[in-house]
């Protein structure tokens, strides 16, 4: 029983590349056979040997596994940055919604163009992430369906998060349509007067959305981090299609990252044009639930900038990890 506490620590002594490949099964083995200090010493020596093997760099498989890890981390970084960008995008929609900027966009062409670029960018980035992540998602799904209970559990997280969001939206709809009466929550909110009940309800919605996004991103990280498959074969129109899932996802990841940059610039331009046309809006409280416009917009810009930087940092990391074509990856 006492060895149960040192098990995770012992596994963590191994190099990352080794752990990605063997940690799950090695942990099961340790559960069954770690009985004495001699076993602990043996594991310790095994970890030292694994590090030396990696440091020697004379083994192509180890080097490739290390590079593959870097590439995988890059994709996950871009994916996480994209999720953060979605949160920022929804906040921007919340800021613009019912604000004087909406009627202004009908007459101000430059403002409308900036908004259109943001909308097109969001579609392009979403498509890039979906297309790039599809083979990876199918591989994880296939593993989950093949009986991997852990993968199944992880895949349930985004589904449950989405259902929770739908449930909460249904609740907001019922309240908004007057079918459900909640004390302190009014059906129609007057401009400049946002009751505490309504504010709480909308804060709840934001909380469910953000927590769901964080939980789903974490689950995807965990599921993909433990996917050791490089290639996946799919049956398509009567033939087999073999895809190198990480190499395939790299181009869409790059598209998504550059699209995020374009959207960041467009958002900055949109904000500047709005401020030039309606300075009063930015100094007022047109943020969601009557909060400061300036604070919301600054927060959105900071989040977008942080996400874009994370995505670019990921791409740069991958560039150093690109496997030479002659190695077949």
């Amino acid at each position: 029983m006492m060895w149960a506490k040192v098990r995770p620590w012992l596994t963590s002594l191994y190099p990352r590349a080794w752990r990605d490949r063997y940690a799950a099964e090695f942990d099961v083995l340790l559960e069954q056979c770690l009985h004495s200090p001699l076993d602990v010493v043996d594991v310790f020596l095994g970890a030292v040997d694994a590090h030396l093997q990696l440091l020697n760099g004379d083994n192509l498989s180890w080097r490739m596994m290390n590079m593959l890890n870097k590439l995988r981390t890059t994709l996950l970084m871009v994916f996480t940055a994209f999720i953060g960008f979605i949160v920022a995008g929804f906040s921007l929609v919340g800021l613009a919604d019912d604000s004087p900027m909406i009627p202004l966009m009908k007459t101000n062409l430059a403002l409308a163009a900036a908004w259109t670029i943001i909308q097109i960018g969001s579609v392009v980035a979403l498509l890039a992430v979906v297309v790039g992540g599809l083979p990876l998602a199918l591989t994880v799904l296939r593993r989950a369906l093949a009986g991997d209970r852990r993968s199944r559990g992880l895949l349930l997280v985004p589904v449950v998060s989405f259902l929770a969001l739908l449930l909460y939206l249904a609740f907001v709809f019922l309240v908004g349509s007057g079918r459900l009466l909640i004390p302190g929550v009014v059906q129609v909110v007057q401009a400049g007067n946002f009751p505490a009940g309504n504010r709480l309800m909308m804060e709840g919605l934001m909380l469910v959305f953000i927590l769901g996004a964080i939980a789903s991103t974490w689950a995807v990280w965990k599921a993909i981090s433990s996917t050791d498959t490089e290639q996946a074969t799919f049956h398509a129109v009567g033939s087999n299609l073999t895809v190198n899932i990480y190499k395939f996802a790299f181009v869409p990841a790059r598209i998504a990252t550059y699209t995020m940059l374009v959207m960041l610039v467009a958002t900055l331009a949109w904000g500047w044009l709005s401020f030039s046309a309606l300075p009063g809006v930015f100094t007022g409280n047109f943020g969601p639930w009557g909060t400061s416009t300036q604070a919301w917009f600054s927060g959105i810009l900071v989040l977008m900038l942080a996400c874009t930087l994370v995505a670019f940092f990921g791409l740069r990391r991958a560039r150093s990890a690109r496997i030479q074509p002659e190695h077949g990856v």
Partner: protein, 102 residues
């Protein structure tokens, strides 16, 4: 392929290959089989050190995970290697015994 490629794991590597010659097994089943077969207790670090080398060398391959355990099996290359090595060992044993008898 030479057993010296496996460094201090050369003996465990042969024990694992011989164990897998009897059919696919996961880590703990290999340890038990090797102990029953030879009386040698392989520690978990030693076992997985040898397993990872054997897998990278293409002598064994991992099969789809069964819950959290992952069984391994010999590849065709691994079977050929083990057969060749055991045959050379047999010749060596015969020669040694012959010399002792002489």
């Amino acid at each position: 392929m030479d057993t010296s490629d496996f460094g201090r794991f050369s003996d465990p590597a042969l024990l694992i290959l011989t164990s897998l010659a009897g059919g696919e097994k996961h880590g703990y089943a290999m340890m038990e089989d090797i102990e029953a077969m030879t009386g040698v207790h392989l520690g978990p670090g030693t076992l997985y050190g040898a397993l990872s080398r054997l897998e990278q060398s293409g002598l064994i391959q991992a099969m789809p995970a069964d819950e959290r355990r992952r069984p391994y099996q010999l590849t065709a290359q691994g079977t050929a290697f083990l057969r060749q090595y055991l045959a050379s060992l047999k010749n060596f044993v015969s020669l040694g015994l012959m010399r002792l008898g002489a």
